[in-house]
Symmetry: C2
Subunit: 641 residues, 2 copies
Amino acid sequence: MIDAYTVARETGMGTRTNTIMQTCFFAISGVLPREEAIRQIKLSIKKTYAKAGESVVKRNYFAVDQTLEHLHEVAVPAEATSTHRRPPVISDEAPEFVRSVIGTIMAGRGDDLPVSAFSPDGTWPTATTQWEKRNIAQDVPVWDPAVCVQCHKCAIVCPHAAIRPKVYPEAALAGAPEGFKHAPARGREFAGMRYTLQVAAEDCTGCKLCVNTCPTRNKADANRKAINILLQLPLRERERANYAFFLGIPDIDRKSFDKINVKNSQFLRPLFEYSGACAGCGETPYVKLVSQLFGDRLLIGNATGCSSIYGGNLPTTPYCVDQNGRGPAWANSLFEDNAEFSFGMRLAVDANARLAATALRGMAERLGEGLVDELIAKTADRSEAGIEAQRARVSLVRQKLAGATDLGAKRLLDVVDYLVPKSIWAFGGDGWAFDIGYGGLDHVVANNRDLNLLVMNTAGYSNTGGQASKATPVGASAKFAAAGKDIAKKDLGMMAMNYGSCYVAAIALGARDNQTVKALLEADSYPGPALIIAYSHCIAHGFDLENGNLHQDLAVESGLWPLYRFDPRRVAQGLPALQIDSTLEPKADILEFMTNESRFQVVKKADPARFETLVAQAREGVRQKLALYKHMSELVLPVQR
Amino acid sequence: MIDAYTVARETGMGTRTNTIMQTCFFAISGVLPREEAIRQIKLSIKKTYAKAGESVVKRNYFAVDQTLEHLHEVAVPAEATSTHRRPPVISDEAPEFVRSVIGTIMAGRGDDLPVSAFSPDGTWPTATTQWEKRNIAQDVPVWDPAVCVQCHKCAIVCPHAAIRPKVYPEAALAGAPEGFKHAPARGREFAGMRYTLQVAAEDCTGCKLCVNTCPTRNKADANRKAINILLQLPLRERERANYAFFLGIPDIDRKSFDKINVKNSQFLRPLFEYSGACAGCGETPYVKLVSQLFGDRLLIGNATGCSSIYGGNLPTTPYCVDQNGRGPAWANSLFEDNAEFSFGMRLAVDANARLAATALRGMAERLGEGLVDELIAKTADRSEAGIEAQRARVSLVRQKLAGATDLGAKRLLDVVDYLVPKSIWAFGGDGWAFDIGYGGLDHVVANNRDLNLLVMNTAGYSNTGGQASKATPVGASAKFAAAGKDIAKKDLGMMAMNYGSCYVAAIALGARDNQTVKALLEADSYPGPALIIAYSHCIAHGFDLENGNLHQDLAVESGLWPLYRFDPRRVAQGLPALQIDSTLEPKADILEFMTNESRFQVVKKADPARFETLVAQAREGVRQKLALYKHMSELVLPVQR
């Protein structure tokens, strides 16, 4: 036995235990003589990590040596005497399919399932990650109500939807577990209400992004914030109960807000939770935010890549449903056709809405002229109140036709839901949008239909091992660009802007969360194509992701990643379509950004002279790009009067 | 028998005899009763041409009626008494392969050929259209030396390379056929030399573009120009002899010119001739011009489409060779991968040049240090003098290694030609570049290698029957956009400019031939990717192509087709990369252009109100595009000092 996490922590390996566990295996398995095995492990460490620097190699050597000192033999008794029982794989409260099918797969016995256990149409239930309690975090954030200002910057960056705020009337506290934390809700609109920021301790991955993002300081102890990291195990039982109680408190009415901002966006329930993405993932906060803003009327076509893996990694699925049972419909398509695939969803929804309108008109007498006219007239109202009213009209149709067996009624009921506005999105990474699927993305952008495209840009092929894409910045090392990329990155946004009919935004949630929320709302409201290019930090960049937001901030401040929104609707108002949302005068040199991430530093180490050249190229590239952006943001187009 | 061409001409059908021949068939074949057949033909005419307007229908009716009046029976005698013999399919002077293989196919007996008649590597000889004398023109242009100013506007627009100028010493006239025309060569550099503008009467298609382009007027008769149209048949024998003599006059030395312009570009021998393109084709003049400028060191990858059909329609091939036997190497690839395919040619040429350099260095002692150093140093000199000098060095290597049997020498001789600079081009239409092959085109543009992309933009899928592409302009009718396209056309050039590392030009040979020549030369000289988007009128536009240049001119003057050149080299000089070469203040309304072509007029006829809306949209689109271009042409980027 070994307490590998303690060894890892104490040898400076953080939470990485691979070297330690490998050492254990070779130390006791007898595959090789012990001394020879250790020598080979150290040779292998040198080979693997030499590029990352001498200190990494030494740290791994140290971990190997400490492993041998902390490895203990435990005698196994002849018979078991403990009364402690292994918890069930799946809770008894889970739905039947989750227990019988998903649970069987999770227990490693999937091959025993008959084909008849699965849905014949190939669909798979959503909202099932909630039944897989992974408990992978060593440490989890803990809320301090006394310090918290309720800004929700922690919740919006959480990649796993594991930290959530609620605001509710005092009465909802009835039956709360002992120690369930709450505070008076801040803000005039919540006067007299209570507030809780709750961590899902069993679902948290311990990435620490929330803590590092928290802007408040405990005045009594400057090292402490409104959320602080504590060991998970002692808290697990208590926080499990607290989280269960928290989930039972009703969600806020979506119509509560005149305007959605960072703070109140986080009161909307995430309909994407506890995915299998890396701890600290830079992509999933965008997915989660889209699910909060539009999740109850959302269709997603997902390109192959990280987002298709964590978005639908069976047996469990992270997309889930709200208290009314509404949630995103999701399907994965190929790298090379996802824009078209999602465009097909748009065409299908529109076609069904037209069928519904035709069917309604044919039944106007039976349903009432007023109801039919309103249903058809209000298909474009995307306000929360408008959507609720339209849903009520659809319900009324269902009520009036309850029990009807005629073909006309059946046909209408099949499609009447399509009269409620849908938000249709294509999700994918830069490998999809900049490279392999770009031809299709361009075609979809050119076709002027209401479709939103979210590109989670990690500047490389993350899921397939870090190959260079056309989004990879100058100076970065990547597979097929190991010596450091010397070609400028493609400006997908500017290329889409050229159509003049596509909403385009570049965002970085970790740097400017308010601009991110604004851009997503504008994209959904825009009645044509909308392209959102989202800066996404990634393990492939080579830094500890708990600092993801600092890196995003530096990307923006150095001018590597200008933030903007290009809204064609502004042209008719005599305004420039392009608005720049970040500085046009870099506040940090690009070298500072490049010094911060090992994807650049390996280039410097391998060839310092080349690195200098690439830094100069990158610096000029940034200056020229900002000059172009400034110039474009000054362009006012003539309009017909 | 019927003289269908005369009937066509006299009934206003121009050279279109399909209705006439069809009428003949039904009138005498007895397939249907004669009266019934004629009635059905007229019904079919109404159905087919109603969209094109009442006058077209009436003209066809008239042709049908006139056909019946001009159809004569000729009694066939019991035995042939004529001594007139059918000329051979292929001249006896043709090479063996052309006579035995191509000739057999042309005679309709291709199935008789054994597999062994063909090259096992799948290649096909070039320069074979010269052996297929089609004699399809009713009328051909005839030169008037007394009026001609030797500007060569006629030669540059000729789609079939059937009108050619030469300048030569007086002595070259020895043995000229009687009536071979010549005049003193104009221009100081040709003082004392003779000049001939010769028509290939048997290869001309009679499109009349040359005559309509000729800028001179005969002062004695304002209806006559420096070239005039006459019936071909009476001239055929004489002009065959004249053209044969003309071809025998040596071509001018390519080093004769300090600078290539419209006039002297036409002294360079076209290495693309007598293709099967439509009479009056708007694409082939570009192909011919590229072959004149770079043909002796040209490699072409050709996307599927018109240009792959007329570029390699077996059994004959229009790409040909100069008097030294050098000419383009050509291959056809798919719609969806031609940019990558051509990029592969670049990579292969570069790899072979590197192999040659390595092999040379290893043989420096044997070949001489000086020769080896020069060969390696001069691979980038693309001046005609530089190319000639490099070819001489390669010849010297061949001489020195003549008879060598060692592997090193053989390997070098395999690749030494690659040290002479090559000009590598991808050819295709807008269906390739804007749509189906765009993903690959973009990837190639992003990869910063020296490759030239020529997009012959007919604004639709010409070869497959006129489907809309992303290049189709607002208001045009096309398949899949029959009601008139209501989405703005894609601005491929501006999207490529965004990389900042690609040379881009929009050209229109029929409107500004000098700008076309300049852009092609700049593209070849640019050491990175170059994209040329060439306005190409097409039969699918619905007008008589003899007026192609007038339409191109109006496209430019109305602002539909701004001409520009974007040269990244200018940035380092502190200049805007983008230069606009045409007016930014439209000199004609877009409606004038749209009134001129039936692709727009069918929309007006079908739905006048929609047409009005589309005209307004097109007009605003033009104004906004020109404003954008003006703005971009004012952008000076900061450069590192």
